[in-house]
Amino acid sequence: MGRKLLLEHINVPNINTFDVYRSKGGYAAVEKALKTLSPEDIVEEVKKSGLRGRGGAGFPTGMKWSFLAKPEGKPRYLVCNADESEPGTFKDRFLMTKIPHLLIEGMIIGSFALGAKTSYIYVRGEMMPQIRILEKAIAEARNAGFLGKNILGTGYDLELYVQPGGGAYICGEETALIESLEGKRGNPRIKPPFPAIAGLWGCPTVVNNVESIAAVVPIIRDGGEEYAKIGVGRSTGTKLISASGNLVKPGIYEIELGVPVEEFIYSDEYCGGIANGKRLKAVVAGGSSVPILPANLINKTINQEARLMTYESLSDGGFATGSMMGSGGFIAFDEDQCIVRNTWNFARFYHHESCGQCSPCREGTGWMEKVLHRLEYGHGKLSDIDLLVDVSRKIEGNTICPLGDAAAWPVASAIRHFRDEFEWHVTEPKFCLQRNYGLAHYADPLPKPEPVAV
């Protein structure tokens, strides 16, 4: 069994209430932080822990905190990004539903470390039940003296508010989230300036994912070095993986970074294998935005090494043969799934969620969706496949925010690895609606790379 840092007490009855959470050692990290550590010490501990942002980009949280500008006379803000909407990712909903006080505890520590007197948790609007859970938990914490004026007699004041979103995936991008929090359309801002300099209402702001903030609690409780002992290399600590798709046991798993992917899929401790006795065809390892990999590239890297659940190992091989950790949304596809249909589905998602501010994303996502729709329904042409690759390239890297990349990668990678299936949709238009292409060779062991003649 791997160590559990976030979900250790998840099965304790009523852990969502303050009293039970407190009886299990909750809020000890706040006491330690506010009474014995300086804000700089806390940032240092987070740096030592090697914690990387759990929202998708994987940027070191401690570094992000240390970049925060501290001009005189301007308030600073910590904003928690709970706008979880990446297809395949549902860990934050789980965390906020089951153990809201963990997030609140992390918010208090983070706000103290950053010198924020007011902090916001931006929760996607569809999560109204979670908003109510958080609001109740905040009231409990306030009653117990962990929020409000003069927390624990240390002289530190903090107000914590929950802000509902309105239904827009783009608000998961930090500057779009800030715009939305300001009561505007969720159009990402043009960077620079970065939020660390001018964020919410022009003030220095840090935006962190729910899981990143929750992970600060065990880091402060046990020390950054202790946290960094878990994991492999630069992938330290534990990570929540949202497992979905055709698995025996989909759900949320806290893993120590470094678990082999194969073990994660097949062991009974985790997903328990592919549902209904079927075979694995493909995996999207980090939420819909990251490149999809066929079965034979997910368990082993191109160099025949076991692929591990770490930031580095999942991206081993670059985009040619690798993928990304992303936000940890692990979607498994069994042999009956159609990759073309799924790619179309994802393209529709990005088309629907594009904010429409910059031209490549606004026009390109819709174009890709239309071409993919045509391919899926057997009206495509062989040239459409190259067209898609080209359009995805024209979007990638040319947009204001990463949504353009996120829309381009799934399409480009699906064609890279499943080109035969796309071509089959063109050459056998009658069959592509009646049956699926099947597993084909996508799970066959990869040939050993031949030694290069010198």
Binding site: A168, R185, I190, H351, H352, E353, S354, C355, G356, Q357, C358, S359, P360, R362, E363, G364, T365, G366, W367, K370, L387, R393, K394, I395, G397, N398, T399, I400
Partner: protein, 334 residues
């Protein structure tokens, strides 16, 4: 911090004030190295960054940190650093990306230039001519909107819009309050007032001047004439609302249209009021300053003034050569 920042754009060095954007540094050089700008408008705060046509490659970040920037950057919103090296037309990557952007801007554009009042002074037309492919790869139905009048003098033809947001910035920054805005999102976004309301205040007409395409047109000029058949003349009048400095567009002796005075990048020098724009259409209303200089590249110059290419007869006739000495020298120099 030093007062002067040295940068080079396509190998051409230029010294600019700190805080200048790459685009404005390039405009100081002028000519071909200036990236096109469809959404940036120097007189509108916060504009730019959206259309992505001005993307350039920063091959050297600065003297201090010479690493290149990982992605192409929007030159209109990226400030220069001392020692920065920028590639615009010398980078095949930039040219390729720009071509892609133009294609994206055009896939849902109606390409109705033959019946569009903006034709001849349309930024998208110029851009497409320079960077676009001759043929589209888009085979789906294009986005369409109904034409609407926003006010009695301005028509909005959303189908042509490229969502540069300039008109929104004008309404925010030049007029007293904004009535139109961007509704919906993604490729359903549209400029609209939501419920039909007239955009009505003294400076609303400026949305026509800032519109890079034919989405917002002057109803007093619609279908009156092609812009290249009209003669631009600079004029002014005493106006209690605005500067009163305008360009009159003549056809024969009639003033067909009044606009702000636009510079080489299509930006007005000063915004003008609706009275000057829509209601003063007699020569007697104005003090004429003289014909407007029109760029030789512009289609508007095609029928007027001294043309760059001297008629062949000049080259053959000695007497004419003598009297056209200056032009001839310029011609041979070029």
């Amino acid at each position: 911090m030093s007062e002067i920042v040295k940068v080079s754009i396509d190998g051409i060095p230029v010294e600019v004030a700190p805080g200048t954007t790459i685009l404005n540094a390039a405009r100081q050089i002028g000519g071909d190295v200036v990236p096109p700008a469809m959404c940036y408008y120097s007189k509108l705060e916060g504009s730019g960054g959206k259309c992505r046509t001005c993307l350039v490659k920063v091959s050297k970040g600065s003297e201090k940190d010479p690493r290149p920037m990982p992605k192409l950057v929007a030159s209109c919103r990226t400030t220069v650093m001392d020692g920065m090296e920028v590639q615009n037309i010398t980078s095949p990557e930039v040219i390729e990306a720009r071509k892609g952007i133009v294609e994206m801007l055009l896939i849902n554009h109606p390409l109705d230039c033959p019946v569009c009042d903006q034709a001849g002074e349309c930024s998208l037309q110029d851009l497409a001519y320079e960077h676009g492919a001759a043929k589209t790869r888009y085979e789906f139905e294009r986005r369409k909107f109904e034409r609407v009048d926003i006010g009695d003098k301005i028509q909005l033809h959303m189908t042509r819009c490229i969502l540069c947001y300039r008109c929104v910035f004008v309404a925010d920054q030049i007029t007293d309050h904004r009535i139109h805005g961007i509704l919906n999102r993604g490729d359903h976004s549209e400029i609209s007032t939501y419920i039909h309301q007239a955009v009505d205040n003294d400076f609303s007409g400026n949305v026509i001047d800032v519109c890079p395409v034919g989405a917002l047109t002057d109803k007093t000029f619609r279908f009156k004439n092609r812009v290249w058949f009209t003669k631009p003349v600079e004029a002014h009048r005493d106006c209690d609302k605005c500067c009163g400095k305008v360009t009159l567009w003549y056809k024969g002796e009639d003033v067909l249209r009044v606009t702000g005075r636009k510079d080489a990048y299509g930006e007005v020098e000063e915004f003008i009021c609706n009275t000057c724009r829509f209601e003063q259409k007699k020569t007697a209303d104005w003090v004429i300053e003289g014909p407007r200089n029109v760029s030789n590249d512009s289609v508007i110059s095609s029928n007027h003034y001294g043309s760059l290419n001297l008629p062949p007869v000049v080259k053959k006739n000695l007497a004419l050569q003598e009297s056209n000495k200056e032009q001839l020298e310029r011609f041979t120099r070029l």
